[in-house]
């Protein structure tokens, strides 16, 4: 039975190409195949799956700190889904009876505050905002103040999208983080980078550079309801040991799922 399970070289190559097409990257695709080949006690598909699971960073189930509020900073490149994800997370926590306040720290992009305020309303959260063009760090500071004074369970800070090559905006992000920490020691308890599931190898540079300035503690991968498989997640998880907390699978409040490594690995398998 074991002999029947073994793959020909051509089949292994086919698997490697499937991983490349899933955005795993050439090195990872090669590594998945070469590692799985070594596991002679396992048939090919389970072997590949076990290698993938090893690459995925383990996460402690509970990211909430012992005392409230739990402060979460959301970061990421332009258009990845930060604002929408904040709405989804708020809705999820509201459903658990938690009180949520959200800071509109994207004070730059056209109608960013208006967009966030719709999500705040839909999810039953509260909004802290200042004028368009205000200092994002000041908004973050105010929001934490409101979160503490109002006895909220969760404080979320929405930030403007930025590309990792923009030194000024990366410094701004570092400042937002510092100010959050000043406002509340221990905060931000979590910093999640939102990654578009359709992103190619640039995701690695994104996570690397953002983490250097913001101290990323987790990832959210969005738009996995499309054709993209998000295979780059294997690299992100393996290289940076960052757990994927949630995945976005659509544009409405309910379209958020906890990341399930085993299910994810299944979608990547050829």
């Amino acid at each position: 039975a074991a002999a029947a399970e073994a793959w020909s070289e051509a089949q292994w190559e086919e698997a490697e190409e499937a991983f490349i097409m899933a955005d795993c990257g050439t090195e990872t695709a090669l590594r998945l195949v070469s590692e799985a080949k070594k596991r002679r006690h396992q048939p090919p598909l389970p072997a590949l799956k076990s290698v993938m699971l090893e690459m995925l960073a383990r996460k402690e189930a509970d990211y909430f700190p012992p005392d409230k509020p739990f402060v979460l900073l959301m970061i990421g490149v332009n258009g990845t889904g930060k604002t929408t994800t904040i709405g989804k997370l708020a809705s999820m926590w509201r459903g658990e009876g938690k009180r949520v306040v959200i800071g509109a720290a994207d004070t730059f992009r056209a109608a960013a505050i208006e967009q966030l305020s719709v999500w705040v309303e839909r999810s039953g959260a509260e909004l802290v905002r200042q004028g368009h063009g205000a200092d994002p760090a000041a908004v973050a500071f105010d929001t934490i103040g409101r979160g503490v004074a109002g006895g909220f369970d969760v404080v979320m800070i929405d930030t403007a999208g930025r590309v990792q090559t923009d030194k000024g905006l990366m410094e701004e992000l570092a400042k937002v983080r510092r100010v959050i920490n000043k406002a509340l020691p221990g905060a931000p308890h979590e910093v999640w980078q939102v990654v578009d599931g359709g992103t190619g190898q640039n995701a690695v540079a994104q996570v690397e550079k953002f983490r250097a300035v913001a101290g990323t503690t987790g990832l959210v991968v969005t738009k996995l309801d499309g054709t993209a498989k998000g295979g780059v997640v294997l690299q992100l998880s393996d290289r940076f040991r960052l757990p994927v907390r949630y995945i976005g699978v659509g544009e409405t409040l309910e379209d958020l799922m906890p990341f399930d490594g085993a299910a994810f690995a299944d979608t990547l398998l050829p």
């Binding site: 490349i20 955005d23 990845t80 967009q115 590309v163 923009d166 359709g198 190619g200 993209a228 544009e251």
Partner: protein, 290 residues
């Protein structure tokens, strides 16, 4: 980068009296890896490598003092040809000419609509903007803010159905006598049948002179499927690559060129409304090569 990597192989090639196919194949393997790492879709990579192989053998690379460099140049030329094919200005001869923007969620359509409007207005055209995005919160407001920034009229479509909105906006455009109407649409996934029917219906309603695919330059392997599927429902006449200010290699650009043969017209080079340039094929080819 690729040129350095190939420098080593070139060194090896130079030592030989004639460049055998195996030495060439080693070079091509490095190229294949470099192109994949640059997010060029696998089927496109296969096509390019076979082209380069044929031309390199034909060019008798062995005769060159720098065989590795010659092969790189062949690849660079192939990329440039593929990317630069069929360059032509926007077709805006009808009054009003409609430009329809389509693409995935978050690609940069709304921002690009503003950039395009600003560019055309600077060129002396009478431009108007409209959004038929009835789903994303504050989508229409976003475009209205941009329109205001560049002092270009925003024409509001009536109702909440994208096709009806597009229709009524076009009527208003005709009445207003504007030369160009730029139609911003909601982002969508190509496997969403309903939304793909919708974009085809919007297209039918406004019969655009230009249908532009707005694609995030950091898109990975799915750029091929995405381009293919959009092109199938709404025959694209061009593409705009966004967020090229990130350190993205931009291999997705080749998928567009390879699948549709449509020209990449412009690139978005930043968040500001003036961060917009004409696409330079040779320079972009160099960037893909790293």
């Amino acid at each position: 980068n690729l040129t350095d990597k190939l420098g080593d192989i070139a060194h090896r090639l130079q030592g030989n009296a004639r460049v055998g196919e195996s030495e060439l194949d080693a070079t091509l393997r490095e190229m294949r890896l470099a192109l994949l790492e640059a997010d060029v879709a696998l089927p496109v990579v296969r096509h390019l490598i076979s082209e380069v192989r044929e031309q390199a053998l034909g060019a008798d690379v062995a005769k060159s003092l720098q065989p590795g460099q010659v092969v790189v140049k062949i690849l660079h030329d192939n990329l440039t040809d593929l990317l630069g094919g069929s360059r032509r200005p926007l077709k805006l001869d009808k009054i009003p000419s409609v430009i329809l923007l389509c693409g995935l969620q978050g690609a940069g359509k709304t921002t690009t609509a503003g950039k395009l409007a600003r560019m055309l207005a600077t060129d002396g055209k009478k431009v108007a903007l409209t959004s038929v995005d009835a789903t994303r919160p504050a989508a229409r407001e976003q475009l209205q803010v941009l329109a205001q920034q560049i002092d270009v009229p925003y024409l509001a479509g009536d109702g909440s159905d994208p096709v009806a909105m597009a229709d009524s906006a076009l009527d208003k455009a005709r009445v207003s006598g504007c030369h160009v109407l730029i139609v911003d649409t909601a982002g969508r996934q190509v496997i969403d049948a309903e939304l793909m029917d919708e974009i085809a219906a919007v297209d039918a309603a406004v019969a655009p002179q230009e249908r532009l695919l707005v694609l995030d330059s950091m898109t990975g392997q799915t750029a091929l499927t995405v381009t293919e599927q959009f092109h199938q429902r709404v025959p694209m006449s061009g593409c705009i690559l966004t967020k090229t200010d990130a350190d993205v290699r931009g291999g997705a650009a080749l998928s567009v060129a390879h699948i549709t043969g449509v020209p990449i017209r412009f690139v978005g080079t930043g968040e500001k409304i003036d961060a917009f340039e004409a696409f330079d094929a040779r320079r972009f080819a160099g960037r893909i090569l790293g």
